[in-house]
């Protein structure tokens, strides 16, 4: 997924579905204000902030967070849904693979 043409949040004070969550960036509602100045208060909102490559404010938010941000005058750009879900099982190592890797790595040549 990419960050192209992100939709802007315009949600009511929604409860949202259980586990509903979004990756978003937060911007000043007034585009004439510099982000750094206008976003000073964001850190007081105790959001799940994650690093942003452009130095902006990137967060994981649920619908209640979004409503709160919008009510406080911020613009919230949603980039993608990040539903609450376990790690993709395809990314979890298999026990046998761990065992065989370990055996190969810590058994010196000539040892069995």
């Amino acid at each position: 997924m990419t960050d192209q043409s992100p939709p802007t949040a315009d949600l009511p004070a929604a409860q949202g579905a259980p586990g509903e969550r979004y990756e978003a960036t937060i911007h000043p509602a007034d585009p004439t204000r510099a982000d750094a100045d206008a976003l000073t208060g964001v850190s007081e909102l105790d959001l799940d902030r994650v690093p942003d490559p452009a130095g902006g404010v990137r967060v994981l938010v649920d619908p209640n967070d979004i409503s709160r941000l919008v009510a406080q005058g911020f613009e919230v750009r949603l980039h993608r849904a990040v539903p609450v879900q376990p790690l993709d099982p395809a990314l979890v190592a298999a026990d046998e693979d761990v065992r065989s890797w370990l055996t190969a790595r810590i058994t010196a040549p000539g040892e069995s």
Binding site: E23, L47, R49, P53, V82, V92, V98, A108
Partner: protein
């Protein structure tokens, strides 16, 4: 691929049982809040005597999955190299077997690859973006304490990305070291001589040194964290407060950080950025600042240089940045950086 907590423990236990002359399994004194045993490793060769020590920890934030794997793989590579006399080849950077041998003959290396096993298990089974430990916070429906806001350096001061609210992901807990996972880290710092500490996180390609709670100044030793109130649940109240760092200390942090950055780049060209912690965003109660602050708060304690490394770049979205489908190139370059950090104690 990412190892489960049980698989990480298997690697640690196997190293201890098959390479006992080099590896000692360290069973931490406290179990996690959900009762999991926390295992560490000590790697050392050669004689006794006063040796510099390095402590590397990982898995502090549960969703930053690659770092516990990285730390056990570092241990395996060191043991394998020492036993077989083979070089450690990391992309375009080769760590000669002789250098590895010198490192293990000279330095005591302590690893706590996964200090937050409950969180890692939760990431793998329930929520892959979980950050905190799995503390049940009484009186709320919210779980977890941010283990990298919960140690005793300006604890409970809500400067920037720190909160006293249990429902936030940056909750600092009810007291400094309220969490057993963090008391285990303190135990290692209290028990062994640790000259250099690094907490390995993701993501942003950074090598971070003190301070995280305020801008750094090098001119007024009296303006320092020991004068700040803690547990206030407010930001620092002193206007314009800046934290003291002795000029020679700052220079050393910058020099060693540059070494780590150079050794990372040598693998495949990734350019990590060395910077004070505050640059990412303000924080309090973090492990690496705590490690360094200990000798300043109590002159009887040994001085420990503290670093945080943020592994890997932004991959287009947060989920793929915290646990990319292929973490191997990132792990290998940071392994070289960590070897550079450890080797800095050998070469001075």
């Amino acid at each position: 691929m990412y190892r489960t907590v049980e698989q990480l423990d298997t690697v640690i236990s196997t190293l201890g049982s098959t390479s006992s002359s080099l590896c000692e399994v360290l069973r931490m004194p406290e179990r996690s809040v959900q009762g999991r045993e926390v295992l560490g490793l000590k790697l050392a060769a050669g004689g006794d005597g006063i040796r510099p020590g390095v402590l590397l920890i990982g898995g502090t934030h549960a969703r930053e999955l690659m770092n516990p794997d990285l730390l056990v793989e570092l241990a395996v590579d060191l043991v394998s190299s020492h036993r077989s006399g083979t070089d450690i080849v990391l992309g375009n950077r080769t760590w000669a077997a002789a250098t590895v041998r010198t490192i293990l003959d000279t330095v005591d290396l302590y690893l706590l690859p996964c200090i937050n096993p409950d969180g890692r298990n939760y990431v793998m089974t329930v929520d892959d973006m979980w950050r905190k430990n799995r503390r049940d916070n009484p009186g709320t429906s919210c779980d977890g304490v941010d283990l990298n806001r919960n140690v005793d350096i300006v604890w409970g001061v809500t400067e920037g990305q720190t909160s006293c609210s249990p429902c936030t992901v940056i909750y600092c807990g009810t007291a400094a070291f309220s969490e057993p996972e963090n008391r285990n880290v303190k135990h290692v710092l209290d028990t062994y001589r640790i000259d250099c500490f690094a907490d390995v996180h993701s993501y942003s390609e950074l090598v971070i040194y003190p301070w995280g709670h305020a801008l750094t100044q090098t001119s007024d030793p009296a303006e320092n964290f020991t004068t700040l109130p803690t547990g206030t649940c407010q930001p620092i109240q002193s206007p314009g407060y800046r934290e003291y760092l002795a000029p020679e200390e700052l220079a050393r942090f910058q020099q060693v950080s540059a070494t780590v950055v150079r050794e990372i780049a040598a693998v495949r060209g990734s350019q990590y950025t060395p910077e004070p912690g505050l640059t990412l965003y303000p924080t309090t109660g973090t492990h690496s600042d705590y490690a360094y602050s200990r000798h300043l708060a109590d002159s009887a304690l040994h001085k420990t240089d503290g670093y945080t490394i943020e592994t890997g770049p932004f991959q287009g979205n947060a989920r793929d940045s915290f646990h990319p489908a292929d973490p191997e190139p990132i792990k290998r370059e940071v392994e070289s950086g960590l070897l550079g950090l450890i080797n800095s104690l050998v070469v001075g």
